[in-house]
């Protein structure tokens, strides 16, 4: 019997939507069961949400004070122990999953498939390499566990409406004390999360300053969009690192992506290739962003953004 274990990602105590995307990927593996594993100091919120995801057979929880924060060194031995009866262990290709899953794979002495974008067959997967400039098909031999991360931008969240059973799980794992959580600094804002937002507005170096980014925020708030940025804008200190979109930042797939003052380095483009519609606004008509934009407008963004704000969303 082939079973899939999906490792839940939490935001605080709430379930992150990446978990439902992993379930969507898991549902293509022709497995007999898909179980979700929640590790936290308070699991009930997340297990309740996970139980509603369609396709989930049961939700397992390991509730312990040492699971209060997602430290890979602490979680990995517990996940590896829980994975004993599973043929597949999937986690999201977010910073959470990228940190913990390879550690799980190594503890189980198996390789990992990173960033599954498509399931070709239960043991064959497509994944992007070279910043998405090539698509590689990989095969995992029979008899080996498949440990993988799921490229969240390639998958839609599995629907909800299910009421799967929830069970507490105990595992025999040694919990290391060599790694300790200190703090998490997040910029508080009310805008939609980049990785789930239907609309995203991004600014690049062309925005010019942190103050000028207010223009971008105002437009985003008018149309209910999340706000992203290019690496250049983050490096220049205009915005926080968690807003970076691209090969090394967030890979996103909103219905609408609008890029203001972003030239379009390949490392940025790889983060937005799955967007429904890409709009580029740049004063340089030669900017590479226009090569992949569905709609382009050449002009001064300091005139265009306020005009757009006025004309959109009424």
């Amino acid at each position: 019997m082939s079973k899939v274990l999906v490792i839940a990602e939490l935001d605080g105590h709430a379930l992150n939507p990446s978990t439902a995307k992993c379930v969507a990927c898991a549902s293509q593996l022709s497995a007999d069961a898909i179980d979700v594993l929640v590790l936290s100091d308070q699991c009930s919120d997340a297990t309740a949400t996970a139980a509603t995801i369609d396709g989930v057979s049961k939700v397992l929880s390991i509730e312990a004070i040492h699971n209060a924060n997602p430290l890979a060194a602490v979680l990995a031995p517990q996940i590896a122990a829980a994975a004993a009866d599973y043929e597949y262990v999937l986690g999201p290709s977010t910073t959470f999953g990228k940190d913990v899953m390879p550690r799980v794979a190594a503890l189980l002495n198996v390789g990992q498939v990173s960033d599954i974008m498509a399931v070709e067959s239960p043991r064959s997967f497509k994944r992007p390499v070279y910043a998405g400039n090539a698509i590689l098909t990989v095969e995992v031999p029979e008899g080996k566990k498949v440990i993988a991360t799921v490229r969240t931008a390639s998958w839609k969240e599995a629907s909800s409406g299910n009421s799967a059973p929830v069970e507490a799980l105990t595992v025999d794992a040694e919990i290391p004390v060599h790694t300790r959580f200190v703090e998490l600094a997040s910029e508080a804002n009310e805008r939609p999360d980049l990785q789930v937002a239907k609309k995203v507005i991004s600014g690049g170096r062309g925005i010019g300053s942190a103050e000028n980014f207010e223009l971008v925020y105002k437009l985003a708030d008018k149309i209910g969009a999340g706000v992203g940025a290019s690496r250049a804008a983050v490096d220049a200190g205009y915005v926080a690192n968690d807003m970076q979109v691209g090969q090394t930042g967030k890979i996103i797939a909103p219905d609408l992506y609008m890029a203001f003052g972003i030239s379009g380095a390949i490392q940025h483009l790889t983060g937005i290739k799955d967007a429904g519609t890409i709009v580029a606004i740049n004063k340089d008509p030669e900017a590479p962003i226009f090569e992949i934009a569905d709609i382009g407008l050449v002009g001064d963004l300091f005139e265009i953004i306020p005009e757009l704000e006025q004309k959109l969303g009424d």
Binding site: D11, S114, P128, I135, L136, T179, G296, L297
Partner: protein, 250 residues
Amino acid sequence: MNKILVCLKRVVDYNVRIRVKPDGSGVVTDGVKMSINPFDEIALEEALRLKEAGNAEEVIVATIGPDDCQQQLRTGLAMGADRAILVESGDEIDPLAAARTFLALIEKEAPELVVLGKQAIDDDCNQTGQMLAALWGRPQATFASKFELTGDTARVTREVDAGLETIEVDLPAVLTTDLRLNEPRYVKLPDIMKAKKKPLETIGISELLSDLEMQIKASNWAAPGQRAKGVLVNSVDELVAALKDKGLAA
């Protein structure tokens, strides 16, 4: 610290527009510029700064690959590493095999800190550092944007999706670097000359690893699907109309 080990990978230079071979057997690398993986350059820079601040005695750079990798190791020596180790392997190896190989080097060299880039820009796997930390049974501080050492403990700020996370790890530990940790130095000509005299040791991979079986097999490379050619509009009004057309604006 006595020793810092920095693990480098030779990759196609980040400025090269890669092309997939027509038969799908890989990407074109003949005649293509090769460089140190940019994240690994940041890793080496961090190690060198720790040494320059008096926090380490020796910085060793190591890589796994064919003889050509000596170029990248020499660049690492020119940046300031004290010596280099090439683990010679003709075959492509996967991250787990790389981690097992570096673990064998750790057992030989006993470094207090191992620094690697968070991912290589060719396979984009983002696995080797984490796997190495697991096999070594030591902490991992991944995606680091700040590293502060206090005695045998390091405080590391990590770039995570939710913002900046700070953790504390006891040494020995594995550190993987994000883009904003530092800006690597440029190599100067006299340093290149000096680097030629620094020790570069070559070890066959079979001396470190008994089995080289790759667990995940690459079967085909393909070019990504292209997006359809877009349109240029001439005004905000046209843009708004186009968005309304697609149902993306009210």
